[in-house]
């Protein structure tokens, strides 16, 4: 089975875009729309994470920092100055990109578990800085006005906004995948030393992936804060969120943008379902069990490993 052609994939993306945009018009309840919002948020962030974590193999365990940066940027600008997150989330994305640019160089010199730890530590550091920045009053919580008067209109605006962010993430991810940057990242993932001797500018490419990934995550975070009436400082920067993002991509598959999307849909919907049926604690047990199962039995995630021509050829012969 060959990889789908360029054209096919873009048609698929367009179809997904249309489906996603039109979803609210199927007469969904306010609750369903807020679930759909959560799904789209995690799908966006997982796809964004995957640009670094999946394509280059540098699994960041601190992406919630970028969510938080985006979230607080829009929240503060909205509650203090009434500026719409539709605009300010791009500023949030830029700030997240800036932070990634600053911490990227030291962090990306490390690999595997060391990289995981340092990104975790950096995200904790970022959270401490943001929460304690003088003048912003983040620590005492921020009230965020909602986008519209009615719940229906609110949910609709929020959903369409995050859906737009999700689509931006998918398009960017797909473009990177097939570009020179994408091939370079794949080479880095497979064997960084060999890639370097092939001339691949490993530092530059990793930084690019890190910064883009952070920016897109910040963009999604900017819309996330709009959906919360009140921002609790502990909320936006949790390690749990960082780990969940990693899990979504691991579960769905890291080869392409489709994996994180599938992972986000399945896991988020699954979690919602379990919350209702058996409550939060039991849901966490299953979530932990899921991590275990994924690592052991599905190293390539739901989308599976890359199709291997050689194997088929041998079987046919």
């Amino acid at each position: 089975m060959r990889r789908p052609s360029n054209r096919t994939t873009w048609i698929l993306i367009a179809a997904v875009a249309v489906g996603v945009a039109l979803l609210p018009f199927t007469g969904m309840s306010v609750y369903s729309m807020s679930v759909a919002f959560t799904v789209m948020f995690y799908a966006a962030v997982a796809v964004a994470w995957n640009i670094l974590g999946g394509y280059s193999g540098y699994e960041s365990f601190g992406h919630s920092a970028f969510v938080g940066i985006g979230a607080y940027t829009t929240a503060i600008l909205l509650s203090e100055f009434g500026l719409s997150p539709l605009l300010t989330s791009f500023l949030g994305a830029t700030l997240a990109a800036l932070v990634a640019f600053i911490v990227g160089y030291p962090c990306l010199r490390l690999r595997g578990p060391y990289f995981a730890l340092v990104t975790l530590v950096v995200s904790l550091a970022v959270s401490v800085v943001v929460v304690n920045l003088p003048g912003l009053n983040v620590a005492s919580g921020i009230f965020v006005p909602s986008p519209a008067g009615s719940p229906v209109m609110t949910r609709f605006i929020l959903y369409e906004s995050i859906a737009a962010v999700f689509l931006i993430c998918v398009v960017v991810a797909r473009i990177i995948e097939r570009s020179q940057l994408g091939i370079g990242l794949a080479a880095i993932r497979e064997d960084e030393e060999v890639a370097a001797t092939q001339g691949v500018p490993t530092t530059r490419l990793k930084m690019a992936a890190f910064v883009v990934s952070a920016a897109l995550t910040g963009l999604a975070g900017g819309i996330l804060s709009w959906s919360r009436g009140y921002l609790d400082p502990g909320d936006m920067f949790s390690v749990d969120t960082s780990v969940l993002i990693v899990l979504l991509a691991l579960f769905g598959g890291r080869r392409s943008w489709i994996g994180p999307l599938i992972g986000a849909v399945v896991v988020t919907l699954g979690r919602e379902f379990l919350f209702i049926v058996i409550g939060e604690d039991a849901a966490q047990i299953l979530y932990g069990a899921l991590l275990v199962v994924v690592i052991l039995f599905m190293p390539h995630g739901l989308i599976g490993p890359r199709p291997r021509l050689g194997v088929e050829q041998e079987v046919a012969a």
Binding site: R2, Q180, I183, G184, A186, A187, R189, E190, D191, E193, V194, A195, A196, T197, Q198, G199, V200, P201, T202, T203, R306, R308, L309, G310, V311
Partner: protein
């Protein structure tokens, strides 16, 4: 005309000295063989030239520029390409995708369309074009060597470092590989090869450099070098010509 001049190279790993005040000169256009007993520092030297390691002292000048301060990608971009002793195909990528990074980021960067064409041409040159879309993981050992070669050619054409490309091959495969190298010889200006298989070395090299215990022993045309008393002593401790048995 010297292409590569290494002088005073010393490299230590903890208590072990891999290379001690070693040097060599590769002239433009020649095929230079680097030979020596196991553990004499040959692969270490390659790692130093390609930038994966830094020497404790000494300089490695390529076209006059000292490579010691440069990173591996920077060195590759100047046209220095290498293969690896134990083949390291990028297993999860296809054969074609293995060759693309060198064409995108190497010494002669190509845009996407041209890069693909050139990649296919290189694969044809080494004989792998049938398996261009196979995942590299599924190649046979011989095929991974072909791939190493194609990848190196994609990176650059000034200096090709071949690290024991004949290791572990049967006599007929050695013949095949000698043929292959002769075929691609025109693609590259200068070749520096590290080898143990003397049949191949004698067949391909214009000159030999001998290293033992990290030190330079001698250099010269192959027929002279293999009869040099110091070389015989270092290899065998006897009067036998190295590799005379085949």
């Amino acid at each position: 005309m010297s292409l590569l001049v290494a002088e005073g190279i010393t490299k230590r790993f903890g208590g072990v000295t891999a290379l001690s005040d070693f040097g060599l000169e590769a002239r433009e256009g020649e095929t230079l063989g680097l030979i020596g007993p196991n553990g004499s520092g040959k692969t270490t030297f390659f790692n130093l030239v390609s930038g994966l390691l830094r020497p404790d002292s000494g300089s490695i000048r390529f076209k006059g520029e000292d490579l010691v301060r440069l990173t591996p990608p920077e060195i590759a971009r100047r046209g220095v390409a290498r293969t690896f002793q134990i083949s390291r195909p990028m297993a999860g990528l296809s054969v074609l995708e293995n060759v693309l990074p060198g064409l995108y980021f190497g010494s002669d960067p190509q845009p996407a369309g041209r890069a693909r064409k050139r990649a296919m041409a290189l694969l044809e040159l080494v004989g792998l074009e049938e398996k261009a879309h196979w995942v590299a993981h599924d190649l046979t050992m011989w095929e991974t060597r072909q791939l190493e070669l194609a990848r190196a050619l994609a990176v650059g054409s000034e200096l090709l470092l071949l690290d024991e490309i004949f290791a572990g091959l049967s006599p007929s495969d050695v013949e095949r590989t000698i043929e292959l190298l002769r075929r691609i010889r025109s693609q590259v200006t200068t070749v520096l090869l590290v080898e143990h298989v003397m049949a191949a070395t004698m067949a391909l090299c214009d000159r030999l450099v001998v290293v033992a215990n990290g030190r330079f022993v001698t250099e010269g045309p192959p027929e002279e070098v293999v009869r040099h008393p110091e070389v015989l002593r270092v290899y065998l401790g006897s009067k036998e010509v190295p590799g005379a048995e085949g």
